[in-house]
């Protein structure tokens, strides 16, 4: 009959109105600045650079290979390689990004940089409150602003970070095993001498393209309170 639908609608809205005072389901608003709904784990927004250890500058996993810079569709990444090499946390000499800028006003959050990075050095952040009153420099983040610790990564994406760590540990263990085997072989073949060089050579020969380079067993042993998850230096 005419008007039936209107009455039904009125009843429904009345239930919504009354229900909003008693039931949480009928008042789904989260009052944002004071309370926030938890972000889903897969949330992602802008990239950040992962570093290990306590010193962000030393621990940056990035080796300025510039793959992400080339792959970035809107070209929002700007990397300048360092002229010198500086020892990374294991003491090995590496190129490092002298400059690593991301213009987040250009970034489109596509995550391609993360996918192409062979060194697990760049990951997606969940931070979204990026508004600033300086639209030129405020939105151009440099490497210091981009650097986040691995612990932070664990915090925002625990599953993914655990996977990454496991993979790295796995690869490192493999490489270590290989290096050890190579070292043993070398030790067996030629008794003493330049074992370090041989190990490095063997490692170089054994490594396939994107895989992390082995750390010489001795160096490794001597170096650092090794976290199980680090092991990302490369040549």
């Amino acid at each position: 009959m005419l008007g039936e639908g209107i009455l039904k609608g009125l009843v429904e809205t009345a239930r919504n109105f009354a229900g909003s005072y008693v039931s949480k389901e009928r008042l789904t608003t989260v009052e944002y600045p004071e309370e926030r709904s938890p972000l889903p784990e897969a949330a992602r927004n802008f990239p950040f650079l992962v570093y290990d250890g306590d010193d962000w500058e030393k621990g940056l996993r990035c080796v300025a290979c510039q793959i992400c810079e080339k792959e970035c569709p809107p070209k929002c990444i700007y990397i300048e390689k360092s002229k010198d090499k500086k020892p990374d946390y294991v003491g090995k000499l590496q190129i490092y990004p002298a400059k690593f800028d991301i213009d987040i006003s250009v970034c489109m959050s596509c995550q391609i940089c993360v996918e192409v990075c062979p060194f697990e050095a760049i990951k997606m952040d969940t931070e979204f409150e990026l508004a600033t009153d300086d639209r030129f420099r405020g939105l151009l983040l440099d490497r210091h602003q981009l650097a986040r610790s691995n612990e932070y990564y664990h915090e925002i994406h625990p599953t993914e970070a655990a996977e990454v760590d496991a993979r790295l540990a796995d690869e490192k263990a493999k490489v270590e095993a290989k290096a050890k085997a190579a070292a043993e072989a070398a030790a067996a073949k030629a008794a003493a001498g330049t074992s370090a060089t041989t190990a490095a050579d063997a490692a170089k020969a054994g490594s396939s393209a994107p895989a992390p380079k082995p750390v010489a067993a001795e160096t490794k042993a001597s170096a650092t309170p090794a976290k199980p998850n680090e092991g990302e230096p490369k040549a």
């Binding site: 639908g5 609608g9 009125l10 809205t13 109105f17 008042l27």
Partner: protein, 391 residues
Amino acid sequence: MIERLDQIFVILKHWLLGYLPESWQTPVGVILSVVCIIGLYPALFAITTVLERKGVARIQNRLGPNRVGPYGILQPMADGIKSLTKEDIVPTTADGVVHFLAPVVLVVVVFMGFAVLPMGRNMVLVDMDAGLLFYFAMGASAELSVFMAGWSSRNKYSLLGAMRAVAQMISYEIALLLSSVVIVMITGSLSLVKIVEAQNHYTWGLPHWFIFTPWGLAGFLMYAIAGTAETNRSPFDLPEGESELVAGYHTEYSGFKFALFFLGEYVAMFSISGLGSTLFLGGWTAPLEVLQFIPSWIWFFGKLFLSMGVFIWMRGTLPRLRQDQLMNFAWKFVLPMCLLNLFAAGLWHFMGAGWLRWVVCSAILILAYVSIGREGMRRKNLGPRSYRYAE
């Protein structure tokens, strides 16, 4: 004491006027009442805007404004300050004078309607013999200001909105008039004070409101529909359909002039609600005989807010009609029902007291409602919407 409270505003006015010389009393009294009306309704408007925003928000599972003041009750102050301090923009091609006059005319005309509304026992500005006619004359003038606003803006959206508004208001004005004529037929008076008096009787403690008769109920429903359309409220708010017309006839208004339009719309809602409660809901009379000790003006404003609540409720519920649906509804459903209602009211009058007239009048109206409704649904004039998408 109860009498005092009921008449408190009347007594207050007379007490104030007592300090004035004899010759001044009449003009100053009128000015005093006018100032009260002009001060009161904008205040009610401010309260209603926050109630509406809160209410619609609750209907839509939101919280509504809650930042300014506790629970957001100071929101209208913020809105007011905002619109007062905003730049008043007049398009360069606009017709300056008409553009300026339109909101002024609207507000003046809308406020004029309150002159004849009895807001309580002895609380009416002018007890005019032709009060209802005066009210409708003023309501008819509001159309012109809408047209002025739309045309003077020199904006096609404004003009389209204005033409829609005028067409809609004219169509529903007929229904509004015809649904009220029923009351005039039964009471034999155009004076709103007399119409309220006619409803101020009680049988078994129940009031003789006109809504409690078959023709009164039908008339009230038609009046409510026509009144909603007349004030351009949802679901009849096509003149302001922001999805297609930006904001309709007041697209080109900003700052204080826009605030005047906004005010005019709400005050028109108050006045239509007030007239509706005067005609059908007994005006300032109490809904039960035992409740008569509560002052009459409380009842009037209570009924006013009740109907404002229904306005808000409908706004939160119903989607906007399409222009052809609107016109079909007015001319093919509301108008025939109104005419039939006139017939029913005539029957009621001439059949004399007794239960038979209840049965006959109800039967006629229900039958007509069902058959017109069914026919309309079948022809898709009034029925569920069907959409044809581009393929």
